[in-house]
């Protein structure tokens, strides 16, 4: 592969903080003199990445994490305050809804303006005008000032101009979300075709579906720093897990169980079939949930375990009474237990495994001990777990059923 399309080394962006006239003057002076000593806050730091032609990158992160700043830096609107940036190709940027449009102009005039902003000559624009208008598909509105447009129509027009440009790198900042369903599909079809033709996409989106479908790589930016860069499936999964955990932290308050002379799980761990500790399990693989439980009266307690997704959604739970399993006594008032899960059908992601000790009658629940496991694997399935299924040919008579 030849030189990368985009190469960034430790790129960061500081914004000058100016709260008084004096600091404003100081900032201007240091800008002119070229000194770097400006009071600032950091919007982005330490981003290094390489993107080859035909690769596509999704940017994810919370609001204000620095995604847009990074896109602006690559688009050339913002000068990075540190690091090196190299872009070897033409860029088409849709940084914001209707950026580069003038509200008083008609749609048609704005096509000329937006294309001129991208550096296209008048002749080139005239040539492509028909296809742009056709792609935007907004009918007679094309000759009305765009201040009367809905936001969806503005996006249609903006995207249509970008399609006509066919830049080496297409940068879109969460603009797809505004279009209606059919337009989104149209855009995605176009992008897929564009990617297949060797185009490179930089997409910033909160739709993990779009990121997974359109991007090979993803970069998760967290509080101005790159947190994870890699395969878009892995990164989006991590990111979603992070959010699930964040949400459930709020729900789960203080549920710490106090313990004194009751049935109690003293330790809980996960291991693989070979008996070595495991925090990971692949989808379809096996996992053992093992532990030691304390019994004050030396009677075998009932064990209950459950699996919840990181956001607290219960997936499955069962207790040892169900199958008549009794933990075996391993020491005085100590019982050991082990449950083997085989052919795990949980979808990849992070899960919490909770275990509880109950009295031998299975009436009272005494404590909760948690550990977590990460299920690995690649799938585009949705939900919590995979259900066994197979695809079969459609039945011929279903045609007649529909007609009747």
């Amino acid at each position: 592969m030849s030189t990368p399309l985009i190469r960034m080394q430790g790129v960061g962006k500081n914004y000058p903080s100016m709260n008084s006239g004096a600091s404003r003057l100081r900032t201007v002076a240091s800008l002119l003199l070229g000194s770097a000593n400006i009071p600032h806050y950091t919007a982005l730091q330490g981003v290094s990445l390489e993107l080859a032609r035909g690769e596509s990158l999704g940017l994810i992160g919370e609001n204000g994490a620095g995604k847009s700043t990074l896109l602006k830096i690559i688009a050339g609107v913002v000068k990075p305050s540190g690091g090196s940036l190299e872009v070897n190709g033409s860029i088409g940027a849709l940084l914001e809804l209707g950026s580069g449009f003038h509200p008083e102009y008609t749609g048609r005039e704005n096509i000329f303006l937006a294309a001129a902003l991208m550096g296209l000559s008048k002749n080139a624009i005239t040539e492509k005008l028909a296809s742009i208008i056709e792609f935007a598909d907004i009918g007679d509105h094309i000759d009305q000032p765009i201040k009367h447009y809905s936001s969806g129509m503005v996006v249609r027009l903006g995207f249509a101009v970008a399609t006509a440009m066919r830049p080496d790198i297409l940068i879109t900042d969460e603009v797809l979300a505004v279009g209606d369903e059919s337009f989104q599909k149209k855009c995605i079809r176009w992008i897929e075709d564009y990617l297949a033709g060797g185009g490179t996409l930089l997409l910033c989106s909160h739709s993990m579906f779009h990121i997974q479908t359109l991007c090979q790589k993803a970069l998760w930016i967290h509080e101005g720093r790159p947190r994870m860069l890699g395969n878009s499936f892995d990164v989006t999964r991590e990111y979603l897990t992070y959010h699930e955990e964040k949400n459930s932290q709020a729900v789960r308050g203080e549920q710490a169980t106090n313990s004194s002379g009751v049935y109690q799980i003293r330790s809980l761990w996960l291991e693989d079939d070979a008996g070595s500790p495991a925090a990971l399990a692949s989808m379809g693989g096996a996992l053992r949930i093992c532990g030691v439980v304390h019994s004050p009266d030396d009677r075998a307690p009932v064990i209950l375990f459950g699996i919840v997704r990181a956001d607290g959604t219960p997936v499955y739970g069962t207790h040892s009474n169900e199958t008549g399993y009794r933990p075996n006594r391993i020491a005085s008032s100590r019982f050991g237990f082990c449950a083997r899960l085989s052919g795990i059908q949980l979808l990849p992601g992070k899960y919490t495994i909770r275990a509880h000790a109950m009295d031998p009658e299975g009436l009272r629940l005494f404590d909760t001990v948690e550990t977590s496991v990460r299920i690995t694997g690649q799938t585009r399935d949705y939900g919590l777990c995979r259900l066994e299924h197979e695809w079969l040919p459609g039945r011929e008579e279903s045609n007649t059923m529909e007609e009747s």
Binding site: L25, G76, L95, S99, A116, L117
Partner: protein
């Protein structure tokens, strides 16, 4: 950043954008207004009317060098070029800030905004000036139309100077918002310090050398002199051209040095 390097080739690449800004500056001022293109003449004509009443009816000024020509024609010859300068600086200085939305979202050579604003102002007042010259000639004043090419050269020199100045101020305006408040009074003082309503010859002798420090005094004086008395290219004109080019280059350097930081301040 490829967009901001290689100034000249880059500007050529963006020529259709430059043209777009230029047209937008012109159309933006009359689109939606009822008076249409007529507004081009309203402001200078109103000023001319006021000066005429104040100086010929109230103060009864008589200019020795005027001869048979009217005072109104004398003022008019310098007024249009001055207005082109004054409005050009003002519009150019605010052009970047006025298009903050664009500057923040799209990568393009920001200086085109200033060029568009200044050139459009010169074009508009240039057309008004030609119309005014026609009217002045028709009302019985003697004008040396054969000097018109040289007058156009001076307007171009003045345009370069205006561009350089406007670029510098526009960059400062983005960084320091106060500039615009100083600009209007500053331009008003400059107006009275420039021989538009009077001629250099009317100044006390000890003040006359100071006019050398006012580039506008030279260009307006030459434009008026050429149209009233005719004449050719002299050596000092070459110096004026060089000076204007220097101001333009400096202003442009200053602007493009700060342009990458505009987004931080807008």
């Amino acid at each position: 950043m490829p967009v901001r390097d290689h100034f000249v080739t880059n500007l050529w690449h963006y020529r259709s954008l430059a043209l777009n800004f230029f047209q937008r500056e012109i159309s933006g001022r009359y689109v939606g207004s009822v008076s249409g293109l007529f507004w081009i003449l309203i402001h200078p004509l109103a000023l001319l009317g006021i000066y005429s009443v104040v100086f010929t009816t109230i103060f009864r000024v008589s200019l020795p060098e005027l001869g048979t020509g009217s005072f109104v024609a004398f003022v008019a010859l310098a007024l249009w070029p001055w207005l082109a300068f004054q409005e050009g600086v003002l519009r150019g200085a605010l052009a970047v800030q006025a298009n903050a939305g664009l500057v923040k979202k799209v990568a393009f050579p920001n200086e085109l905004l200033v060029h568009g604003a200044v050139c459009a102002t010169y074009a508009v007042h240039g057309v008004g000036f030609l119309a005014a010259l026609g009217v002045i000639a028709l009302t019985g004043n003697v004008l040396h139309f054969e000097a018109l090419p040289l007058v156009l050269l001076f307007l171009s020199i003045q345009l370069l100077f205006t561009l350089g100045l406007a670029l510098g101020i526009a960059a400062l305006q983005v960084l320091l918002k106060d500039v615009e408040h100083f600009l209007t009074p500053f331009l008003m003082i400059w107006f009275y310090a420039t021989p538009v309503l009077y001629s250099v010859a009317m100044l006390p002798e000890r003040l006359q050398p100071y006019m050398l420090f006012n580039p506008l005094a030279y260009s307006l004086g030459r434009i008026r002199g050429l149209l009233m008395h005719g004449g050719g290219f002299i050596l000092a004109d070459g110096a004026a051209l060089l000076g204007a080019v220097l101001v333009f280059v400096l202003g442009r350097w200053f602007f493009n040095r700060l342009a990458p930081h505009f987004e931080d301040f807008l």
